[in-house]
Amino acid sequence: MSMDEDTKDGGSRRDFLYLTAAAFGAVGTGSVAWPFIHQMNPAADTKALSTIEVDLAPIEQGQAITVMWQGKPVFIRHRTAKEIEEARTVDVSSLRDSQTDEERVEKPEWLIMVGVCTHLGCIPLGQKTGDVKGDYDGWFCPCHGSHYDSSGRIRKGPAPKNLPVPPYAFVSDTKIKIG
């Protein structure tokens, strides 16, 4: 095999071997690195805690409870007619994170959402009767002053998004499954 033949397309056998070795080396390094990166992601038992059932029967209208789901508080509020009314008469296009109240609830009287401020993760006030509820009759985050309305939508302050609604379903009239 002559030298000319070997390099006629601009690359030598040596180049090909270098590139192949480097490519396999990179894949090999990556496949060894991945377990050490992925081990930091939520483990199987952590993920297994991702479904809970909540009995809604004891919650009176106007009351709210907080349950833990995936290490985060979930706000469950039995809304009054006034609160539903307030949430539904807002001009949706004027909201920072446009969402209608209908999109956020399965049944209008039950508002279920993750109670973690979308700014930097504090827990907003407004669950207890004596709490500050902010300017929009909903929740108020004391850390950096975000106001959420009676549908948990961001109305004022630094938070970029509405309080997120977790996946949930009514298993019976008074029982829900979150997750």
Partner: protein, 516 residues
């Protein structure tokens, strides 16, 4: 290292070891006879002091780890057990707690020294950058260490800081879950923070080794900023600076001991003695004092950066660049000529500049109005035309990391040939203002983000970035250059003569016959 030109030692044991592994020769070369500028002031103590604090933190930290348990069920009570039941546990924990603060004090003074006397400049750029890397590692270590006692501030500090990463587009939320190992700060988070908090100090130690190695290649800077010319300018490190460092260290440790023994919680936050509760957020979440300046910068960005604001900023940056960053103002647009953009590359700078200035004023005006006064009628109308490009949260995170990045690239921004602020009258003012700025940021970082505090934080953040991006380039070009003394030796003599002149004048003024 060849041992061919090694000086033999008199002690036979030392000689036996040294001829096989020349550690004694190395130590003597680097810390015994090592030629060091003779005019150090006490600011030059703080490298050695920081080193001592690092060792102190390692020793106390390893000791605490013998009693601490990294599990959310018991972490808080295991720390309380250290405080109450472990023999001298209270002392070791208070040493570690206050040691962190004093390590940062030492390092901040050390950084100030580097800034003021231009120690970051050629040929010490890499030495400086390794130092900034150490600062970053220290921040990560301190942050994770503060989480371990699992108090309210631990938990909520960790929540707020890890949530910062959620500001990153696309990958943000995934990164946050990856950091947490779950869906909130919880046991997996505490566990890995403990592991990393134990690891990182050793990484710091390794980088400190490189930092010191780089220092011993270039040699130390000194208050005059003039390189030593010969033996008349230097003295051996030992005994001169071993003694001076020890004197400064003892004074520093004395103050440290006053805190550790008499006011051990003065620099901490009382809420961290309440066990972490994921359902209750403290009214004011504040980080440890040494993070407050960066926290202030983070929170100073309260506004969304919209398209107009960005265009305005680009126009302003363009003007700063052509006028200050370039040594000589380019004839045509440098971007257009590099990329050979037709038409644009033919427009002379003289015509382009007023256009850019008008653009800067117009777009900064409108963009600023939309960002800062969103409720105004005009702003509301323009709002639709200028989409938000960088949300406030991401903007804050970028500014915070950017503030450290500024330090990292400083050696390449500052091209003024003189190092020391002693011979740079304008730089001296600017760098002292930066120091005050740092204190202002520290102050507002500890206050709630509302009202006047936000405005002050924004002004202080603006100065911080302007120092690096506008003032330093301006000084490169326009700061007057007074003649430098030819050597450190001459600098010291001049200084002495000046001092003598002053005291002579004073004495003469006191004598009655001299007054006539």
């Amino acid at each position: 290292m060849g041992s061919g030109n090694r000086q033999p030692f008199d002690n036979p044991v030392i000689e036996w070891v040294d001829s096989r592994l020349p550690v004694f020769t190395l130590m003597n070369k680097e810390y015994g006879v090592f030629p060091t500028p003779k005019n150090f002031n006490y600011f030059w103590n703080f490298g050695a002091i920081a080193m001592v604090m690092l060792i102190l933190m390692l020793v106390t930290g390893i000791t605490l780890a013998m009693h601490y348990a990294a599990h959310t069920d018991v972490a808080f009570s295991s720390v309380e057990r250290i405080m109450r039941d472990v023999n001298f546990g209270w002392l070791i924990r208070y040493m570690h707690m206050n040691g962190a603060s004093f390590f940062f004090i030492a390092v901040y003074i050390h950084i100030f020294r580097g800034l003021y006397y231009g120690s970051y400049k050629q040929p010490r750029e890499l030495l400086w950058m390794l130092g900034v890397l150490i600062l970053l590692l220290m921040m990560a270590t301190a942050f994770m260490g503060y989480v371990l006692p699992w108090g309210q501030m631990s938990f909520w500090g960790a929540t707020v800081i890890t949530n910062l990463f959620s500001a990153l587009p696309v990958v943000g939320p995934g990164i946050v879950e990856w950091l947490w190992g779950g869906f909130a700060v919880d046991n997996p988070t505490l566990n890995r923070f403990f592991s990393l908090h134990y690891l990182l100090p050793f990484v710091i130690f390794a980088v400190v080794f490189l930092h010191v190695w780089a220092l011993h290649v270039t040699g130390s800077n000194n208050p005059s900023g003039i390189e030593p010319n010969g033996p008349q300018d230097t003295i051996p490190f030992h005994p001169y600076y071993t003694m001076k460092d020890t004197a400064g260290l003892l004074l520093f440790l004395l103050i440290y001991c006053i805190f550790t023994f008499f006011m051990p919680n003065a620099l901490g936050h009382p809420d961290n003695y309440i066990e972490a509760n994921p359902l209750v957020t403290p009214a004011h979440i504040v980080p440890e004092w040494y993070f407050l300046p960066y926290y202030a910068i983070l929170r100073a960005v309260t506004f969304d950066t919209n398209l107009f604001l960005l265009i305005g900023l680009v126009c302003a940056a363009y003007l700063v660049a052509v006028n200050l960053w370039f040594t000589k103002k380019p004839e045509n647009c440098p971007v257009a000529t590099t990329f050979k953009i037709p038409v644009l590359q033919d427009i002379p700078m003289k015509a382009l500049e007023p256009l850019m200035a008008a653009g800067a004023v117009l777009f900064l005006g409108i963009g600023g109005m939309i960002a800062f006064m969103p409720d105004m009628g005009m702003a509301k109308m323009m709002d639709a035309a200028a989409p938000v490009l960088v949300e406030a949260k991401l903007g804050g995170v970028l500014a915070m990391f950017g503030s450290i990045a500024m330090l990292f690239v400083l050696p390449f921004i500052d091209r003024h040939p003189y190092r020391s602020a002693v011979f740079r009258p304008w730089f001296k003012v600017a760098v002292l203002l930066l120091t005050i700025d740092f204190f202002v940021l520290t102050y507002v970082g500890g206050k709630p983000a509302e009202g006047l505090y936000v405005l002050v934080a924004q002004a202080a953040t603006a100065y911080y970035f302007a120092f690096f991006l506008v003032i330093i380039p301006f000084l490169n070009k326009f700061e007057p250059r007074v003649p430098l003394p030819p050597s450190i030796h001459q600098y010291v003599l001049d200084k002495k003569a000046k001092k003598k002149q002053k005291s002579d004048d004073y004495m003469n003024a006191l004598k009655p016959e001299a007054a006539e």
